[in-house]
Structures are given as C-alpha cells and as structure tokens.
C-alpha cells in the first residue's frame, strides 16, 4: 500500500496534525499493522519537500512535531491520478508452495502430507478471520473477505494439486 497516497487522501477532508493522521490511518486501514510515528513524520517530510502538502499551522507547546498539514492542489492531483490508475494484479507465478511440492517430489518426500499440512494451516487462519468478520463492522467484514477469498483460492489450488500429484511426480522426475 502506498502510505504517502493514503495519508494525502486522508488530508483531503481537511488539515490534520501528524498524530491525527496516524490515528485516522490506523482506524481505517491499519488493522493488524498500525503505522509507526516515525513513518508518518518521514512520509510527511517527503510530501512537504515534493510540494504535495504544506504546513497549515504550528501549535505551541511540547512534543516533537506539532505541525498541522494541509494538502496542496498538486497533492489533490496526485491522489486523483493514483486513484484512477488500476493496481497491477499480482500474477502469482512465483509460489513458494509450488516450489515446496516439486522439491518434495524430487527428493522422495511426502508431498501429499505437505499439502494437507498447508491446508490445515490455511483453514485455521480462515477460521480466525471468519470469527473476526462475524464480530466486526462492515469495514472489518470487507477486509476479512478480501483475505478469505485469497485463502480460498489457495485452498482450491492445494486440492487440485493433491489430485494431480501422481502426474506431477512423473513429470518432475523425468
């Protein structure tokens, strides 16, 4: 995720202090990974240097950074461009799981066990996410659903690969 663009987007609603920005980010997008303060301030410095934000005011009092930031016209254009560009889909062509399956077959290990172990691990995470989704708000549900659909795709691949292990073994040992 582009932290810079996300913080810029949050600034479009109105000027904010660095601390407010971090809080808004964590609340909306942080989930399991809250932003570090250092990351917020270093990002804001970069945006400031590039003319995408400006300092709207400085509060008196203690604290390392009491600056209030506002987005500039150039910043709004930057957000607009970012939002209008499609994200590059991940081609998923470099799979660690695939590598492990092939190596297990090449070295005479139990690839079916490997697939079952992975399946159990995936389902464990899916249960955790489903519980979180059940107890969460709509934002939580959407974030968890995104993860659940990806895990489901992995599981379908695991099932399909398990069904084709015999043929794959013949091919990799050729």
């Amino acid at each position: 995720m582009s932290i810079g663009h996300t913080l810029l987007g949050l600034l479009e609603a109105g000027p904010r202090h660095g601390y407010d920005l971090k809080r808004a980010f964590d609340e909306k997008f942080g989930h399991d990974r809250p932003l570090a303060y250092g990351q917020v301030y270093s990002t804001m410095s970069r945006l400031l240097k590039n003319g995408l934000v400006e300092v709207d005011g400085i509060e008196s009092g203690g604290g390392p950074d009491r600056k209030r930031y506002a987005i500039t016209d150039a910043g709004i254009t930057d957000v607009e461009t970012w939002l209008s560009q499609p994200e590059k889909p991940d081609p998923y062509l470099h799979s660690t799981l695939y590598t492990k399956v092939v190596l297990a077959l090449l070295t005479g290990r139990r690839a079916d066990e490997l697939l079952d172990t992975q399946r159990a691990e995936h389902l464990r995470l899916m249960r955790v996410l489903t519980t979180r989704k059940r107890k969460g708000d709509l934002a939580d549900q959407l974030v968890c659903d995104h993860a659940l659909f990806h895990l489901e795709a992995d599981l379908r691949w695991l099932e399909l690969t398990a069904a084709r292990l015999g043929r794959l073994a013949e091919e990799v040992r050729r």
Binding site: T117, H122, T130, L148
Partner: protein
C-alpha cells in the same frame, strides 16, 4: 479401527459402505462433541454425503460402529432410528425442501406437529426459532413466495424447532449466492451454539467450512481429521 474420542456425542469408527462394487466408505472415522460444529469436506464422490447419511441413521453401513449418546445406531431397528431422527436430529438440505402447500410457520412447526405437539404451541415455538433466523415476518407466506436465502433460513428454523442435539446440514449454502450463504451460516452456527446443538456440516466450500470448529476431509471413502495434523 480406533476408539472414538472420549466424551463425544456422536462417534463413528471403521465405517464401510459399498454401493455395488464401489466403496463409498472405506474405514471412515468421525466424532463430534455437543455444541461443536464440524465440517466434512472432500471432492465430489469422495463419500462425504454417504458419511452424513450413515451418521444420521438414514443409511445403514455395511460394517463399523456409530455410537450416539452411548447407543449403538447400527443395532437399532428402522423404527428406533426414525424416532431418533424425529426427536434428536435436525436436517438442512441444499434446497430447503419445504412443503410448498404449507405456510412458512406451518413448515417450521411441522416436526413438532409430527411428534404430537398441539398446533398453537408448535407454532409458538416455531415463531421463536423464526425470530432467531430473522424470518419471523414470513410466517404467513408460502415457500414459493420467498427468496432462496429466506427459504434456507426457514429450513434452518425447522431443523432447530425440536431442540435437536445434532443438526445435519448437507451443502446448506450450495444454492445460495455468497451474501445469503454467509448469512445462513452465521445464523445457523449462532443458533446451534446457543442451543448447544452439534452441527455436522457437509460442504465443498472452504469459506463455509471456516464457520466450523474443526474439519474432516474425506477422500476415497477414508476420513482425515485435519486438527490432528501438526
């Protein structure tokens, strides 16, 4: 054959069932505790539906043991098994299988009426479960007048109305879109857990299985408890 886990409400060991020369079950094992939701997964034709039918006393296995609440199912006669299905078990199928001529509340009350409960009392209990499944407003409608998702929730209410100790759900979301499927699963598992009923959930969808506490995979008639994988 391994012994059933201690304290299980329903447990099967060494189940074998053949249809002609085809082995549908080949030594399958299963166990479930009260209030637990167990997903039974596996490819098409793996034997998962046969396992459910054996566990529910619908189809007798060729060999093996099925113990429900300390009683051996395979030793019961047809009448005893029917009685068990009527009073202790609840069923949800892929297509609700509601009676089209009856209203929704009559459908939900039907299992109680079959055990001799008076109409008024049966419909009062039915309405309680329809509220749990958020379909209480559909009581006067007939199955043909409601959506598939609503029908499936009515079917879940019907499965719960007798206070069963085990609910057998065979692809309960198979005919629904994602959103309705999720709602059915959420309400089914919440209602079952609050009633301390166990749920045997046959599904091929992993997102549906994720509503369970544990998963059994059936392949070529043999079962594997995924929780026992380290």
């Amino acid at each position: 054959m391994t012994a059933a886990p201690a304290g299980s409400l329903l447990a099967a060991t060494g189940l074998r069932k053949a249809y002609g020369s085809t082995d549908a079950l080949d030594g399958a094992e299963f166990s479930i505790h009260a209030g637990e939701v167990v997903a039974v997964m596996g490819p098409s034709g793996s034997g998962k539906s046969t396992l459910l039918h054996c566990l529910a006393g619908i189809v007798p296995p060729d060999s093996g043991s099925i113990v429900y609440a300390g009683r051996e199912l395979t030793s019961m006669n047809d009448g005893e098994r029917s009685e068990l299905r009527r009073t202790e078990f609840g069923f949800v199928f892929q297509f609700g299988q509601l009676v089209p001529e009856l209203t929704c509340v009559e459908n939900v009350a039907l299992p109680l009426r079959l055990t001799g409960v008076k109409r008024k009392e049966a419909e009062r209990t039915a309405l309680h479960w329809m509220e749990q499944l958020q379909v209480e407003d559909l009581g006067a409608k007939r199955p043909g007048e409601i959506s598939g998702g609503q029908g499936q929730r009515v079917a879940v209410a019907r499965a719960l109305v007798t206070g069963p100790r085990v609910i057998f759900a065979d692809e309960p979301t198979g005919a629904l879109d994602s959103l309705n499927g999720e709602l059915v699963m959420q309400l089914l598992t919440e209602a079952a857990r609050s009633a301390n009923a166990a749920v045997v959930l046959v599904t091929h969808e992993t997102r549906v299985a994720a509503y369970s506490d544990r998963e059994i995979v059936v392949r070529d008639g043999r079962s594997r408890d995924m929780e026992r994988i380290v």
